[in-house]
Amino acid sequence: MNQPSLENAAHPEKLRRIVIEPLSRVEGHGKVTLLLDEQGHVEQARLHIVEFRAFEKFIQGRPYWEVPVMVQRLCGICPVSHNLAACNALDQVLGAVVTPTAEKMRRLMHYGQILQSHALHFFHLSSPDLLFGFDSDAARRNIVGVAEAFPEIARQGVLLRRFGQEVIRHTAGKRIHGTGSVPGGVNKNLSLAERDELLVDVEQTIAWSRDSVQIVRRLFEQNLGLYRSFATFATSTLGLVRSDGAMDLYDGGLRARDAAGHDLFDHAPYSRYWERITEDVKAWSYMKFPYFKELGAEEGWYRVGPLTRVTQCDFIPTPLAELERREFMAFDEGRAARSTLGFHWARMIEMLHAAESIRDLLHDPDLQGTDLMAKGERQPRGVGVIEAPRGTLIHHYRVDEQDQVVRANLIVSTTHNNQAMNVAIREVARRYLDGRTLTEGLLNHIEVAVRAFDPCLSCATHAVGKMPLAVELLEADGTVADSRRRG
């Protein structure tokens, strides 16, 4: 018998409503609502995006050369990813094939971003749930608790993140608002002094990254039943791969597979992504729902990000990460690689790949090259796609003859994962919450499922006092029956 989808309740007006708003350790303005009947059975579960971010309007009308800096302000979490996707798109507008030095500088910057973002997510945001348990004491289930119980892990998390930030600083020119990458190339190379400074810590970074993979593996071994099944579901997937099938987080062709693992398309050029992907809208969310055209809106949704990339590539082109990928794919007869909590394992494998890639690039003399910019024949349109820390990121621009951006379309990683995250919370609601007295620990299961995707629901706005977590239990008539806040 098919289970109800839990997307739309038949009679929502008769149901109790629980709101988790905003999600803790998830950026910004999202909330989860659960509708329960009188027996506490879950009738509807939705992840909503409650704020509309007019990315495209922000960019349209600007001269194209401002765009790589402006788009960094879309997201305080991964500004480098937006910067690089924009530059890749605008390279095409300039008709430029970037020089080896420019491409390698950008790659180095990108791997720095991947490393620091993944370190933050695992050590700071997810490790408290994973190390202490999803429904352990909430007062301890945080980074301070981790620092008390596992001080070395907490310290390594901070230092890994700092190393990634230093890679970004040396390649982008600044900590934030970097101008290192520009349309047509880069405006700086890596000096020998900068290279040597990064080389001091790179081997330690690789060693810690490798240890981090083992931490997640041990967590799987110790909690196999839970990790195998938690919020797990079959899904189509999308990501970039290199021409030889290798993982490539910076460039490549689009590979998509259906929920059974069969190719839908492979090495498809991303410059015409709209022939493969389109977006649905739903009245209850500001965030769109992308899907594969050939499967339709109902069946064509998919998942992006570390778990997809690690499982979808044919191999990882750095030796330690490839070794770990093989272990991951084989673990528990392949179940870990299909589980939602496998995101954490995959993320750490990618962090290791990023660390190895940084080391390899630092030994590449092209980074000291002086041929930084390229030119070509001007084109009216450019599409840039990279694999950002959270998944596939698409930037698409049309630029007129006066150098003004007249159309912009962005599909960010979290948007690709919109339906997948909704399915994940419905799986959790069905399995852990249905018919039970709801506690903070049980509600945290919902957040654990969402956090596995590491969504970035809003961006960059964070002012003091703006980010409490409120959990409200409302009666069917909207009155608040109970509430809790944590900040």
Binding site: P22, V26, R73, I143, E148, R175, C456, T461, V464
Partner: protein, 147 residues
């Protein structure tokens, strides 16, 4: 390498309405080139900023603040050992606590200099009220930094 005894950590997104207050005041401090003061600008506070506090005597967090009395507030910040949940960004007290945890020593004296903020729309400039608050706040921030 010696570091400036006072660190100003200004936080905010210049393209998100009143969130620009931190970077805007940081620009003015950088232009003032005050001795003994280092100014860093960030989109948001993160764990690694704890490392920027090392060997400092004092840190001033400059930020937009939605729960401040207009035009600005000065709040002493102490490490918060009890913070339970966070997002991708940290609060100043959490940065101090992270410092304690990773260094095993007490963080420098810390102050939050918060300017009253109202709106945070992408692409918007400062709201009129926050623009006024920023004007009022600047002389005091300069004074705090020894200018």
């Amino acid at each position: 390498m010696t570091v400036a005894p006072t660190l100003v950590l200004a936080v905010g997104n210049p393209s998100c309405g009143d969130d620009a207050v931190g970077p805007l005041l940081a620009d003015r401090l950088l232009a003032a080139n005050l001795p003994g003061v280092e100014v860093l600008v960030e989109f948001q506070l993160q764990v690694e900023h704890a490392l920027d506090l090392q060997a400092r005597e004092r840190v001033i967090f400059v930020d937009a603040c939605v729960d401040a009395e207009a035009p600005y507030v000065e709040r002493t910040v102490v490490a918060d050992a009890g913070f339970a949940h966070t997002s991708h960004s940290l609060l100043p007290a959490q940065v101090l606590e992270t410092y304690r945890r990773i260094t095993g020593s007490e963080p420098p004296q810390a102050l939050l200099f918060g300017v009253r903020a109202h709106s945070f729309e992408l692409g918007a400039g400062l709201s009129p009220d926050t623009e006024s608050a920023t004007k009022a706040a600047w002389p005091r921030l300069l004074e705090l930094c020894g200018g």
